[in-house]
């Protein structure tokens, strides 16, 4: 990490230079990767979504110190909202409503018109993204409100429950009114369309997107969109971290009673952390739904919540560059393994000895254990400000002082 330094307060010139280097690297990446096939860029697309999630969770867990094991619920909220408002699903919903409750169903149809009854709602991305952020933020506050008095393990258990509740709702909300299509999931979600350009490519173009006369694969177009959103999320979280609110969050994490005594309204500030974090999850979820064109409850299981939490903790809890690195490593490495391990074994031994999926689980566990043993603060933790003029003497003084107390 010596070459790249992102601490703007210490060494701004080096920090901005590092950021520029990283950004240029990221901008040319898809062009370098394109000749090797679209799957590599697709992996990075998913990694970018996970980075967004990890950065959102970092606000809750890293800054405010509120352990949230149900964070994937907000990803689900964003994804399902997109599924409902940008696919034919709303037509199915209306149909089931008319069958079950004709009065409400028919009056809703007269309000919305036959167009929506036929084809469902198809909102533009410009509406979907803010709406997903707002709805997920609302859910964040709703789920945060009952947990305000809980800390640590208790909070973790309750949030875990909330995460599961949302997933089970998605799994079962197909009767009597079909909101989510149950375990089958919502299909045919619209791809994102920005300024008239369809990021999935026009029909018959074999997933080629043409921007200003330049043609690129669909995954590259999504890559640039997700990169833009990621940069925005990084910008917003960095600004929040170095603000009055960011300090209040960290103060609550460090000592809630002292934070209260300093006049911080911990209830409001905690709820704000929950909803800010959730809104990033909601945006990532909306992007996920449009990118895949399909959502189902399987994508939002507890293991996903834990994976996102692992990204935050492994990378360096509360430290934005660390969290980004954790997200990139944990999201991309399994995919890379899948692409590398099996062909390699076939070449070496003629057949596959250990399946990539098995190896992935093994390495995942091993990596977790090793990192927690050797770098408990994460791979890239926040720098400590220990610029002590007189070396070790302070430590002694401090420990003796504490003992005397």
């Amino acid at each position: 990490m010596a070459l790249l330094n992102f601490d703007t307060s210490r060494n701004p010139r080096q920090a901005y230079a590092s950021m520029a280097v990283v950004l240029i690297g990221l901008l040319i990446f898809p062009f370098v990767a394109a000749p090797f096939g679209n799957s590599w860029v697709r992996i990075v697309d998913m990694a970018l979504l996970y980075i967004m999630l990890a950065l959102g969770l970092n606000i809750v867990v890293g800054f405010a110190g509120l352990l949230d094991l149900g964070y994937i619920a907000f990803y689900a909220v964003g994804a399902y909202m997109t599924g409902l408002l940008a696919s034919p699903q709303f037509a199915t919903l209306l149909e089931s409503l008319i069958n079950e409750y004709p009065v409400i169903g028919n009056s809703l149809v007269t309000v919305l018109g036959p167009e929506i009854q036929q084809n469902g709602i198809h909102l533009s991305v410009w509406v979907i993204v803010p709406l997903a952020a707002a709805l997920a933020g609302l859910f964040g506050a709703l789920l945060g409100a009952p947990t305000l008095k809980l800390r640590g393990d208790y909070l973790a258990i309750v949030t875990l429950g909330f995460g599961e509740i949302i997933r089970i709702f998605m799994n079962n909300l197909n009767e009597p009114i079909n909101f989510t299509n149950g375990p089958q999931g919502i299909n045919l979600i619209d791809p994102i369309r920005v300024f008239g350009v369809n990021l999935a490519g026009e029909a018959g173009s074999r997933a080629t997107v043409v921007v200003g006369g330049y043609a690129m694969p669909s995954v590259n177009a999504y890559y640039f969109l997700f990169l833009l959103l990621c940069v925005a999320v990084v910008f917003v979280t960095t600004r929040l971290q170095h603000s009055r609110l960011g300090r209040a969050w960290v103060a609550i994490r460090e000592d809630e009673i002292a934070a209260k005594a300093m006049g911080i309204n911990t209830r409001n500030v905690k709820l704000l952390a929950f909803s800010m974090g959730a809104s990033f999850g909601g945006i990532a979820g909306a992007m996920f739904a449009s990118f895949q064109g399909f959502v189902s409850p399987e994508s939002f299981s507890l293991t996903e919540s834990i994976a996102v939490l692992a990204m935050v903790v492994l990378g360096g809890i509360g430290h934005i560059p660390g969290v980004i690195m954790g997200g990139a490593l944990l999201a991309a490495l399994p995919e890379v393994l899948r692409h590398v391990v099996e062909p390699l074994q076939e070449r070496l031994f003629g057949h596959v000895l250990v399946e990539a999926e098995v190896l992935r689980q093994l390495l995942y566990g091993l990596a977790m254990v090793l990192i927690m043993l050797n770098r408990p603060a994460g791979l890239w933790p926040a720098p400590k400000h220990e610029d002590r003029p007189d070396g070790d003497s302070d430590t002694k003084e401090q420990s003796s002082g504490t003992m005397a107390a």
Binding site: F235, V236, R244, A248, H385, E386
Partner: protein, 256 residues
Amino acid sequence: MSEPVILHIAGVNKRFGGLQALTDVGIKIMRCQIYGLIGPNGAGKTTFFNVITGLYQPDTGTFELAGKPYSPSAPHEVAKAGIARTFQNIRLFGEMTALENVMVGCHVRTRQGVFGAIFRHKAAREEEAAIRRRAQELLNFVGIGQFASRTAKFLSYGDQRRLEIARALATEPQLLALDEPAAGMNATEKLALRELLVKIKNEGKTVLLIEHDVKMMMSLCDRLMVLEYGKPIAEGLPAEIQSNQAVIDAYLGGSH
């Protein structure tokens, strides 16, 4: 600001289950005084303190700060009303720098929210700069200005106590309430703390002080109150307290 009585509390009762922790405790503190609260261990000093600052809910009692009634229903409301406190066992924000700790103290008198944080418009930048300036001034005032960028938990014990006082002062309190600030300090550190408290008083602040060191309290405080078993047994000038029979009995046992 002309109101001479800064804190007027009367009729406070507080019961923990079967234990009557405070019985009809009242207090009246004049502006620009150092007011001491002493008593044997378990007399209810810290309980009273926690009631004043909103950490515990009293069963009864009336509360007035600078002539205005305030409700000690939540600590952040009390801080907003103008009482800042420190803790018996230091409660700093350990992972934050000294400067950031004091900047958190400025939270209650500032107002920038999410939009200010993200867009950093002019008002937000100015407020942030003012917070930073004020925090550095306060660190200088308590004498640890040179440690501004150090992580709080790496400060020496005496400096952590000072930092807690600076953080409390950052809330711009009318009354500064210190819970055993000299606990665990050596003689030199106590002397320096004394100087700091006198300096704070000379700045026009009022200080409420709990302390075990009776010698220090007698020479430092303008007035004192003595608690025993949750009841006030004496109140007055240090000299009066020193010669009060009930106080002597409380400290030395009745039949000395």
